[in-house]
């Protein structure tokens, strides 16, 4: 309960600083680049294989109904709605959430955060805010990449294993994939990015007790972010489905 209270106070501090000038562009771009460089390859590898596995599983079932040309649209739907945002978030937690916690945590235990404060710079503004913005922008970008390579994986499996005609594959995707599925997935992933950045930086920020404490902060950041991402995804999916159903 105490930690929840502290986290709420932390959230308030971060949100009060989000739009406060000066905007730290160089910090922001540094983190964008870092996340991109660190994680693109892993995102590509894990979602390509996810697309391929899904296509394989669905393909065998759908072939029974002579519906293997729908594999692409089914995979595209699953990816864009759920799997791409979630897989991307999990990869980014492992690569970047952990390093956010470790970097800020080791700055805490070596008094660098205190030093910053003494020089009249709020560490939340200098270190946390650029990371939150970077995550907000880069999560959807990598999710979009995940969608594309995941569908490419499905395309490869559909056309080779199940001999689906290439143009048919895309035609069905075009027919069944609602752009709203893609948008809602990207929107979700931006919010997941903010959640991951907030939880990870928070665990770094409150680190205590030397190198051991940094290790603990990193583990807690990864575990908490993972659970939070899944819970938040469920809640957002619920809300999105409700509004889409009502609209549709």
């Amino acid at each position: 309960m105490i930690t929840v209270g502290h986290f709420v106070i932390y959230l308030r501090r971060v949100f009060s600083q989000l739009f406060k000038p000066p905007f730290r562009f160089s910090q922001f771009f540094e983190h964008l680049e870092k996340i991109g460089v660190d994680s693109t390859l892993v995102v590509v590898l894990s979602t390509t294989t996810t697309g391929m596995i899904l296509a394989l599983q669905l393909g065998y079932i759908m072939r029974m109904f002579h519906a293997e040309m729908f594999v692409g649209s089914a995979v595209a739907m699953a990816l864009s709605r759920e799997l791409a945002p979630i897989m991307t978030a999990i990869v980014l937690i492992a690569r970047n959430g952990s390093s956010m916690a470790a970097e800020i945590g080791s700055m805490r235990v070596t008094e660098q955060l205190d030093a910053m404060e003494i020089m009249a710079v709020d560490p939340i503004h200098y270190l946390v805010v650029p990371r939150v913005w970077a995550a907000f922008f880069i999560f959807p970008v990598l999710t979009a990449v995940a969608n594309i390579v995941g569908i490419a994986g499905a395309y490869f499996v559909s056309t080779t294993v199940f001999q689906v005609d290439a143009s048919l594959f895309f035609q069905k995707i075009y027919l069944f994939l609602d752009p709203n599925d893609v948008y809602s997935g990207l929107m979700k992933s931006a919010i997941l990015g903010v959640i991951v950045a907030l939880i990870s930086t928070y665990n770094g920020y409150i680190t205590k007790g030397g190198a051991k404490g940094v290790g603990r902060a990193t583990t807690t950041a990864v575990v908490t972010s993972t659970v939070a991402v899944l819970v938040a995804d469920y809640i957002m999916t619920d809300i999105l489905l409700n509004t889409l159903m009502r609209a549709g």
């Binding site: 970097e103 080791s106 700055m107 070596t110 008094e111 660098q112 205190d114 030093a115 910053m116 404060e117 003494i118 020089m119 009249a120 710079v121």
Partner: protein, 251 residues
């Protein structure tokens, strides 16, 4: 003789551990005050209370007549413009090189934007600490002593009125320690600063200090000039001095 900082009945505990238990101390303007005391007695904690990164449980700290324990964040930030602070382990930003570290307070606090001016000032400060030309090195590439000296340069970068030094010479070789001592005396006198220094080096403390304050058991058990300290009949202080000198003789 004016007091620039007055500490009155300062208490600070961490959980059940009482660290400061009624500290009273006056810091005179333009003087070098040295705080001595055993490891773990709360010297660093005292300094952090003065600069406002730790909040006292009770008691008062006045700076220029105003009670800083009642300050809001903006006023604390304002006050800190007057202070330079050297952390015990330097606390250099590990994601910046040496030059960026030293420039940081100039950019953030003095809002200096001219790259050339910044580079010149950084070079000047690096000269001052006898480490010219290491602007592009990362803190992780420096020795402990070098880091400490860069920390010193960063603390002096904003032309502070008061410098708080947490063990500026610990871990340096005697010759270097001596030159840092001289540097502190020089900047204090020439720039009319007030220095508050934590030190474990008793001979140096007695040599450069205008005033010695002995922190023991949560209180300032003695304060006065080095002469008064030497002649005092405070048993613990005498033992502390004797021990420190003895250890140095052994080393």
């Amino acid at each position: 003789m004016t007091d620039i900082i007055t500490i009155t009945d300062l208490h600070k505990s961490f959980g059940t551990q009482k660290v400061l238990d009624g500290v009273n101390l006056k810091i005179e303007k333009g003087k070098i005050t040295i705080i001595i005391g055993k490891s773990g007695t709360g010297k660093s904690v005292l300094l952090k209370n003065i600069i406002g990164i730790l909040k006292p449980d009770s008691g008062h700290i006045t700076y220029k007549g105003e009670d800083i324990t009642t300050f809001n964040t903006d006023k604390i930030l304002d006050m800190r413009r007057d202070f330079g602070y050297l952390f015990q382990d330097a606390a250099l930003f590990d994601f910046m090189n040496v030059g960026e570290n030293i420039a940081f307070p100039m950019v953030e606090q003095l809002e200096m934007a001219n790259k050339k001016e910044l580079a010149e000032k950084v070079a000047y400060l690096l000269d001052l600490i006898d480490l010219p030309g290491i602007e592009n090195k990362l803190p992780s590439e420096l020795s402990g002593g070098m880091r400490k000296r860069v920390g010193l340069a960063r603390a002096l970068a904003v032309d502070p009125k008061i410098i708080l030094f947490d063990e500026p010479t610990t871990g340096l070789d005697p010759i270097l320690a001596d030159s840092i001592d001289k540097l502190i005396v020089k900047v204090t006198r020439e720039m009319d600063l007030t220095s508050l220094i934590i030190s474990h080096d008793i001979p140096s403390a007695f040599h450069i200090g205008d005033k010695i304050a002995f922190l023991y058991d949560g209180v300032i058990a003695f304060d006065g000039t080095p002469q008064e300290a030497e002649q005092s009949n405070h048993p613990v202080l005498q033992r502390f001095i004797a021990n420190s000198l003895g250890r140095r003789a052994h080393a």
